[in-house]
């Protein structure tokens, strides 16, 4: 019998095509930097070449005299941003401290920090003029090497980061099988295709329009309004298309505030697009994180003790924190569990969330350690996981709303051909390459937030849905259209229009944390249901379920019918633990002489409730797997710590996977609804698509070679000898 039938899984429907696919492939989709405003000027930064200290002198005369230059701003002449002075921070810091304020004083906190901003009538002229800015510095000793200051790491403030203890995790006396291992995830830098970009256009003294690369038009609106002491409605933020963000546009960064400030001062619209190398120094990265896992188990593979410690970097001026160790508390049924999370400041720009944020870092350590334990116990790694399956949430004792992790293990194992895996490493060779299999799982919280959606039935029969959410490439517009079409059965998809990415639309949260399908989808669903009811009331008794809406509006002589609905999760959710799960399987080949690793096969299984938009969901899984392969095999931002500067700040030297690195990726879905989370039964899947993937690759490399690489990325040099 097929697996599908065995589990009684409803077959996936085909799903609709990406609603904006045509716009994207024809170039008609407009991204922030592509807008043109009459009188546009261009901003380019001159950046610090020292890592820590103060600006002694800064000479902007040559830059000011250069052709086409309108203004050069430094800390000496930049107008004060009003929100900076009152202590109201324009862009909320991730945890503690405060964001960098540009051009307020002469201090340099990290290499690459902007020290001057040139505004000129073309990008090329601004770039040239910026190269003429000459700064002299008083240098102070700096530290950018996190590995050297791990002992200085401290627990961040707040209950979320306090040491966690369940039972007696440190009690090792009677434990028959022990494992201790250290893992390192390096800096992984945000390198989406689209660079950070903003156009700031003041249309009146107290009003402006902003085209921005952002994951949240509302949060950008608020950040700018606060910084410039404006009513939020005076700031109009547009982000219709976003060319990949992965977390780097969750915040309003200091350079964006600077662009708005400059536009006000030169009284012309200012366009600021970061260069690729600036991207490394400006919009965050996955922080370098050292981790240690201690496991105790019985000889038959029951976990008894589990301790997970992580120490990560942050900047000297801001505390960045993420949920690196959280998964260890509930992923496996283990009575004695401890987690410790610490951060340590270094002289760099502030890290930020990167797809599958801390969980991806944590899952690399935990899921490798479980594999190492399986090896020690001479037990199949899936069997070990099944033996320690958590039937209820061991962290809080709550039942799971739904959890089909065991099914996901099985589906993936069947598809990849797990039975061909040999438990003894380095035992399969084909055409001179070593072959290995590995797996790793991922988990991420599934919730539902608050969103407002306006649903309008127009006189032409078009159903218009409006909310301010952005689509960072994941296919939000497509998923929302699909959800609406399932409520309004009978209305063709081509007659459903989803309008997004504008701060003047009803509010939705920032796109991030795998929450949007659930949150905005829930609100779209509720708005559509409410609009249908409104129609039923209008028609009165005896109306059909699928009325001719155009006719109804005509008969009643009303131009359109609309509802605006704000909705969020229900309180019942609090009685359950809700997570999305993923299980990744890979087959790798490793060249025994050169250490080259190639991925032969990938199967990723998602247990994320009902799959509302199969096509874009598949793309999410594929993209996450590719991101995970990059994290596992090649991504690493390398800093020369003597200078505090990156030595691979471009796409030739900072490697992400290219087509030739990626085999066919099989995306499988358990596709069982979780109606406790939202009425569609759908849970998020953006993060789980990546979380656990790097462990799967590392485990497969171990299975192929017998070499356990605990420090990412697994480059050929680490597999020699």
């Amino acid at each position: 019998m097929k697996q599908q039938e065995l589990l009684n899984i409803p077959p996936l429907t085909e799903g609709i095509d990406r609603v904006d696919g045509r716009l994207k492939v024809t170039g008609a989709a407009k991204y922030a930097a592509e807008f043109e405003v009459p009188g546009m000027t261009y901003a380019v930064f001159a950046n610090s070449t020292i890592t820590k200290g103060t600006i002694k002198t800064i000479d902007t005369k040559a830059a000011e005299r250069a052709p086409g230059v309108l203004a050069v701003f430094t800390y000496l002449n930049a107008p004060k941003v009003p929100g900076y002075q009152t202590g109201g921070d324009p862009s909320k810091p991730p945890s503690g401290g405060g964001p960098l304020k540009l051009f307020v004083d002469n201090t340099v906190k990290y290499n690459g920090q902007p020290v001057a901003m040139v505004i000129a009538d073309s990008f090329e002229r601004a770039t040239y003029a910026a190269s003429l800015v000459k700064a002299e510095y008083t240098k102070e000793p700096h530290q950018t090497d996190t590995s050297k200051v791990l002992d200085k790491a401290a627990t961040p403030k707040g209950p979320r980061f306090a040491d966690y203890k369940r039972g007696t995790p440190d009690d090792w006396q009677s434990v028959p099988v022990k494992l201790e291992a250290e893992y390192v995830v390096p800096i992984d830098v945000h390198n989406p295709m689209e660079l950070s970009a903003i156009i700031a256009h003041w249309t009146a003294d107290d009003k402006l329009t902003v085209y921005d690369k952002t994951q949240g038009v509302k949060s950008t609106q608020n950040a700018i309004a606060q910084a410039f002491k404006l009513p939020p409605d005076n700031v109009q933020v547009t982000a219709k298309f976003v060319g990949g963000a992965f977390g780097n546009a969750l915040r309003t960064w200091p350079h964006e505030i600077a662009a708005v400030m400059a536009a006000k001062q030169v009284k012309r619209p200012v366009k600021l697009v970061l260069t690729r190398d600036m991207q490394f120094y400006t919009v965050g990265y996955r922080p370098y994180t050292w981790q240690k896992i201690n496991i105790g188990a019985t000889a038959d593979g029951k976990l008894t003790n589990l301790v997970h410690e992580a120490r990560a970097q942050t900047s000297s001026f801001e505390e960045f924190t993420e949920g690196t160790v959280n998964m260890t508390r509930f992923m496996y049924a283990c009575p004695n569990v401890g987690t410790i999370y610490k951060i340590t400041p270094v002289d760099v720009n502030t890290p930020t969330w990167m797809r599958g944020p801390g969980e991806a870092t944590g899952a690399f350590a935990l899921e490798c350690a479980i594999d190492e334990l399986a090896d020690k116990l001479n037990m199949d790694p899936i069997e070990l996981r099944v033996r320690n399956h958590a039937d209820t949430d061991p962290e809080n004792g709550k039942p799971f709303s739904t959890k089909y992790l065991k099914e996901a293990y099985q589906m993936g194992a069947d598809k990849i051909g797990w039975q061909n895996r040999k438990s003894k490493p380095r035992s399969v060779q084909e055409d001179g390459w070593l072959i290995g299999y590995g797996m790793g799982s991922g988990v991420f919280g599934a919730g539902r937030g608050r969103a407002t959606v306006k649903a309008t039935m127009q006189s032409d029969g078009v159903l218009l849905l409006q909310t301010s959410v952005t689509d960072i490439g994941v296919g939000t517009g497509t998923a929302m259209t699909q959800i609406a079409s399932e409520v309004f059965t009978g209305i063709p998809v081509s007659k459903i229009k989803f309008e997004l990415g504008d701060s003047s639309l009803p509010p939705s949260p920032t796109q991030g944390g795998s929450m949007i399908t659930s949150t905005v989808g829930g609100a779209v669903h509720d708005a559509c249901v409410a609009l249908k009811e409104k129609f039923q009331q209008l028609i009165g008794n005896g109306g059909t379920d699928k009325p001719d809406y155009i006719q109804v509006l005509k008969d009643k002589n009303i131009p359109q019918l609309d509802v605006t609905i704000t909705s969020s999760g229900n309180s019942e959710m609090r009685n359950f633990s809700s997570y999305s799960y993923s299980v990744h399987f890979v087959q790798v080949k490793v060249h025994p002489k050169t250490g080259v690793v190639r991925i032969n096969k990938v199967v990723s299984v998602a247990d994320s409730g009902h799959i509302v938009s199969p096509k874009t969901a598949r793309s999410q899984v594929i993209g996450g797997a590719i991101g995970g392969i990059g994290m596992a095999l090649m991504e690493e931002g390398v800093i020369d710590h003597r200078f505090g500067r990156y030595v691979n700040a471009d796409l030739a030297n900072y490697h992400v996977p290219v087509h030739a690195d990626i085999p066919h990726i099989e995306a499988l879905f358990v596709n069982k609804p979780d109606y406790k989370v939202n009425p569609m039964g759908a849970k998020g899947m953006g993060e789980i698509a990546l979380i656990g993937m790097s462990a799967a690759v590392a485990n497969a490399v171990y299975n192929a070679t017998g070499k356990r690489v605990r420090e990412l990325p697994i480059t050929p040099d680490k597999l020699l000898g």
Binding site: S131, G432, H591, T594, V596, D661, P716, D717
Partner: protein, 326 residues
């Protein structure tokens, strides 16, 4: 980027006159030069575009093949004569860069491309090649990609080309045109070692133009292989590359050519190893011996010690492939 002038002379004379002036620079495909200009590493006052010159042809000559300096990397890689007579060159070219870049890159430009040392690229860092006397940032810095042969106290950079490794192995000749006339250089004499003048990559004078390369006929077509070991499957520079060409008759190696990339400031011909291979049976044991010989004198830095192991392994692997043993 600094503002600059641009000329596109109609003929060779015009080009030669233009490049004799100070501050000028030839531009062909622009895929390396423009990049360096954007980074502020090179800042010519005037670009001399040579694309009007009739240097695009690939044609058979009495003792081999002539390839014009403006022949595109993709064009050479796909050329039937090249594929039949010198498959090693075709393989090396397709191992380089990306399809888009190969469609722009020319043979002359590829030979003249500059090192990918990150300190060379970043004007905020010290680099003797970019700014003589400022020191070598890589020597005590990040030097994973750097040389294990032929480096100097002043510079430890490697030449990044794949094409040039094959041309060095194939005994090619470089055709050079100056205002006083034409000269020929052995390909292996074209690029330089850094010595005390790391600012010089090669022996082409400022006022000279590469017009083409010539490859003599050989008996290696049956048994040649270009191996490129890199951090990802495509679009990455070599950690180590090996161009291996063998003339095998009845299981015995009659003649051999070997060159390595990613190890030195110039394509690194392994002549001692070639000598060792001659007359020996084409077996893995022979190849391993040759690989050991080739490594004599190699010395590593902080981050590139792995090359001492990867290089001989790659030589053996490339020869094994060339011999058809895998």
């Amino acid at each position: 980027m600094k503002q600059f002038q641009y000329v596109r002379p109609a003929n060779q004379q015009g080009v030669l006159a233009a490049i004799a002036q100070p501050g000028t620079k030839i531009i062909a495909g622009g895929s390396n030069l423009v990049d360096l200009m954007k980074h502020g590493v090179m800042a010519p006052d005037k670009l001399v575009d040579i694309n009007k010159l009739p240097l695009r042809n690939i044609s058979g000559i009495s003792n081999g093949l002539h390839i014009g300096a403006l022949a595109l990397n993709s064009q050479v890689a796909e050329d039937q004569q090249v594929k039949t007579k010198f498959p090693l060159l075709s393989q090396a070219l397709t191992a380089g860069a990306s399809a888009q870049l190969r469609n722009m890159a020319t043979v002359g430009g590829n030979m003249m491309q500059r090192t990918r040392c990150p300190y060379f690229y970043d004007t905020a860092m010290p680099c003797n090649k970019r700014a003589p006397g400022t020191g070598c940032g890589a020597k005590e810095g990040f030097n994973r990609m750097h040389a294990i042969f032929g480096f100097s106290d002043k510079c430890i950079a490697v030449h990044p080309s794949d094409m040039c490794i094959a041309l060095a192995a194939l005994d090619a000749t470089v055709l050079i045109q100056g205002r006083k006339g034409t000269r020929h250089l052995k390909f292996t004499d074209f690029h330089r070692l850094p010595g005390t003048t790391p600012e010089l990559d090669n022996n082409l004078a400022k006022d000279e133009l590469i017009t083409g390369v010539e490859i003599p006929n050989n008996n290696f077509a049956q048994h040649s292989y270009y191996l490129k070991v890199r951090d990802r499957a495509s679009y990455a520079f070599a950690l180590i590359s090996v161009a291996a060409a063998l003339d095998i008759q009845n299981g015995i190696i009659k003649d051999a050519r070997l060159a390595m990339g990613g190890v030195a400031h110039k394509p690194w011909r392994l002549t001692t190893a070639e000598q060792l291979l001659k007359g020996k049976p084409a077996t893995v044991a022979t190849f391993e011996q040759a690989a050991q010989t080739a490594m004599q004198g190699a010395k590593a830095f902080k981050d590139n010690a792995f090359k001492l192991q990867m290089a001989p392994a790659s030589i053996t692997e490339a020869l094994t492939h060339a011999a058809g043993l895998v």
